[in-house]
């Protein structure tokens, strides 16, 4: 023991009451909630609703974007119409085809060619030209023999290569024009390359046959 008792406040002295202890934060929040419970609930509800609303907005079903147009080769048909003139020319073959875009956006024909060595090709109208959907465009094709040793005198399914362009793609596509075209081409090439060959009998391929309703570009 030290013999020293507790110090008592003397005269003129003042034992200051300790300052009120700071309320713990939890208690303060609880008190705040108690006082403002309605406001807190309203705010929480508004926040939750806003969050739900935002989620709904972000995940809302959207109208699908318009589908991309099909590639031009899937919408365009090239149809053999027949030879131009009753007989083949001495140096080549003139004929007409119809180019028709059946659906989708406008298609531009950028090139018409043929794959055979020994032949050259010109088209009228000269590419590039545009087609209007649903309207057949009549194209005059002239093939000239440049080397008889390299022409396909009897091709079964000769091609016409056409390069097409629309808003989706540019495509080089082969159009196999069928047996009538093959026969007419073969006959013409036989005539152009050999005096000994005569055209074989062929079906009635009058130039105007089947041209009703065609629009010349």
């Amino acid at each position: 023991m030290s013999g020293v008792g507790p110090i008592e406040p003397g005269e003129g002295t003042h034992a200051w009451a300790p300052p009120p202890a700071a309320r713990p934060p939890r208690e303060r929040a609880a008190r705040f909630r108690t006082r403002h419970r309605r406001a807190v609930l309203a705010t929480t509800s508004a926040t939750a609703l806003a969050a739900v609303g935002a989620y709904l907005y972000v995940t809302r079903p959207e109208a699908p974007p318009p589908p991309a147009p099909p590639p031009p080769s899937q919408t365009v048909r090239v149809t053999y119409l027949g030879p131009l003139g009753a007989e083949a020319t001495p140096t080549g073959f003139r004929f007409t085809v119809a180019v028709t875009a059946h659906s989708g956006p406008q298609v531009t024909v950028t090139r018409i060619s043929q794959p055979y060595e020994g032949l050259s090709l010109t088209a009228n109208p000269h590419p590039p030209f545009r087609t209007r959907t649903g309207i057949p465009h009549k194209i005059e094709i002239t093939m000239k023999v440049t080397d008889c040793g390299k022409v396909p005198r009897n091709a079964g399914l000769p091609f016409l290569d056409v390069t097409l362009r629309n808003t989706r793609a540019i495509e080089a596509h082969s159009f196999i024009l069928g047996e009538r075209y093959a026969q007419d081409l073969s006959d013409a090439l036989q005539v152009a390359c050999s005096n000994e060959f005569l055209p074989s009998p062929k079906p009635d391929n009058t130039p105007d046959k089947g041209l009703g309703g065609l629009r010349v570009s």
């Binding site: 419970r37 309605r38 609930l41 309203a42 929480t44 509800s45 939750a48 609703l49 739900v52 609303g53 989620y55 709904l56 995940t59 809302r60 079903p61 589908p67 991309a68 147009p69 099909p70 590639p71 080769s73 899937q74 048909r77 090239v78 149809t79 053999y80 794959p115 055979y116 060595e117 390299k150 396909p152 005198r153 009897n154 091709a155 079964g156 399914l157 000769p158 091609f159 495509e171 080089a172 596509h173 082969s174 159009f175 196999i176 024009l177 069928g178 047996e179 009538r180 075209y181």
Partner: protein, 409 residues
């Protein structure tokens, strides 16, 4: 109490909103395979589901399965639930014929998709035709199946119940010849086939056109499809001086043949038809397959906008096997049957008539719809009116489209 009410209202609002959100997000999901009603219509499938050609066969089966599920989900034919019965022909004509008999015996079968192989179709056609049961092949390319044995001189349809969505070899062979001669600039070909209906027929139509164009056939050989040793043929190819090989047959033989030709020292491309257009060809042929070519029916499915949904749905269904060369055509074949059934049901006050098979066969001739592979309809022979072909080349271990063509005759 009022505060509790407020909490309850808020919770209810949030729950309701979340429920609505969940409902909205289901749009476009696969959904359940719900039943369409009380009548069951079975679509049969015949294809090689086991063996060397099973990659193509399983692609056919899965694609038909997808069409059936789609029709049921959409309740496309009110009151009708479609089911699939798939049988394995093991690429054997005798098995194909047995399968045809089995499918005919099931009265619920109103249409069949298949087969893969033309020689198997030959064994099935009469069985189906006698029972008025319609058959739509996604893959047969032999012209005689629709245009008769004398198709080159006189086209005559042998069976009114047979249809196909694939283009024929009357176009495929010449198309390949034109590409090889004009675009690939190959002038000397060695022609090999497996002696089967498909392979020999395709090799013949290729050779005829190649010669007409001025090309030279410097050698021909037949192989035995039961063997995988083609070293003797490869040596002949090497010594022939050919600058290209054309093979009429299928990928189980074409892959090793390509590999062995290159190993013999002839570094020239092998070209084939739709029978080699498979990822398995590249696996079998190995790294030296680069530059090999194949023609196949139709435009590349992946490039067709109409095929996007098919490709996505096929993936979503989680099929283990790829849809391969004929997936889109198989889906369209099955859908053609579904369309024909719908027409028959609609014309009969919403019910199947007694002579449903005959009526479905009759309706098939007039079917027309926008399918996975484009417009689907049939000409007077039962052939697809959509006659497109594509040349593919092997690049970096995969088939890449090189050129497409459309027959407009």
């Amino acid at each position: 109490m009022r505060q509790r009410s407020l909490i309850a209202i808020t919770a209810a609002l949030a729950a309701g909103a979340l429920t609505l959100t969940a409902c909205g997000s289901r749009d476009g999901d696969g959904g359940s395979d719900s039943s369409g009603g009380g009548t069951t219509v079975v679509i049969g499938v015949d294809a090689p589901l086991t063996g060397d050609l099973s990659a193509l066969g399983l692609g056919i089966k899965n694609s038909v399965d997808l069409a059936v599920k789609t029709a049921n989900k959409e309740k496309f034919v009110e009151g009708v639930t479609f089911k699939i019965e798939a049988l394995d022909d093991q690429a054997q004509p005798s098995s194909g014929q047995q399968n045809a008999t089995k499918l005919v015996a099931n009265k619920d079968v109103l249409g069949v998709v298949g087969p893969l192989n033309s020689n198997i179709a030959e064994s099935m056609q009469k069985v189906f035709d006698d029972a008025n049961l319609v058959e739509v092949s996604p893959a047969n390319t032999n012209p005689a199946l629709t245009q008769g044995p004398d198709w080159q001189t006189k086209k005559e349809r042998p069976y009114k119940s047979y249809f196909r969505t694939a283009t024929t070899d009357a176009i495929q062979g010449p198309f390949a010849a034109q590409y090889v001669y004009n675009d690939a600039k190959k002038k000397k070909v060695f022609v090999i086939d497996d002696k089967k209906t498909y392979g020999a027929g395709l090799a013949a139509t290729f050779s005829a056109e190649f010669k007409k164009l001025g090309g030279q056939v410097v050698g021909t050989e037949h192989i035995d499809p039961e063997t995988k040793d083609f070293s003797a043929v490869a040596t002949k190819v090497k010594s022939s001086g050919a600058d290209v090989v054309y093979y009429g047959g299928e990928y189980p033989q074409a892959g090793p043949l390509s590999k062995q030709i290159k190993a013999a020292g002839a570094n020239i491309p092998l070209v084939g038809g739709d029978g080699i257009y498979s990822a398995d060809f590249i696996k079998l042929a190995g790294a030296t397959a680069t530059g090999d070519l194949a023609t196949s029916v139709g435009a590349p499915v992946e490039e067709l906008p109409s095929a996007k949904e098919f490709v996505a749905n096929y993936k979503a269904e989680g099929y283990k096997e790829a849809y391969e060369a004929y997936g889109g055509y198989s889906y369209d074949s099955a859908w053609a049957i579904i369309e024909a059934v719908k027409k028959v049901v609609d014309d009969n006050n919403g019910e199947l008539p007694e002579d449903a098979r005959a009526k479905v066969t009759e309706a098939m001739q007039g079917v027309s719809f926008d399918g996975v592979t484009g417009k689907v309809s049939f000409d007077e022979f039962g052939d697809a009116t959509n006659k497109q072909l594509t040349v593919y080349s092997v690049e970096n271990g995969a088939w890449k489209p090189a050129k497409s063509g459309t027959y407009e005759g």
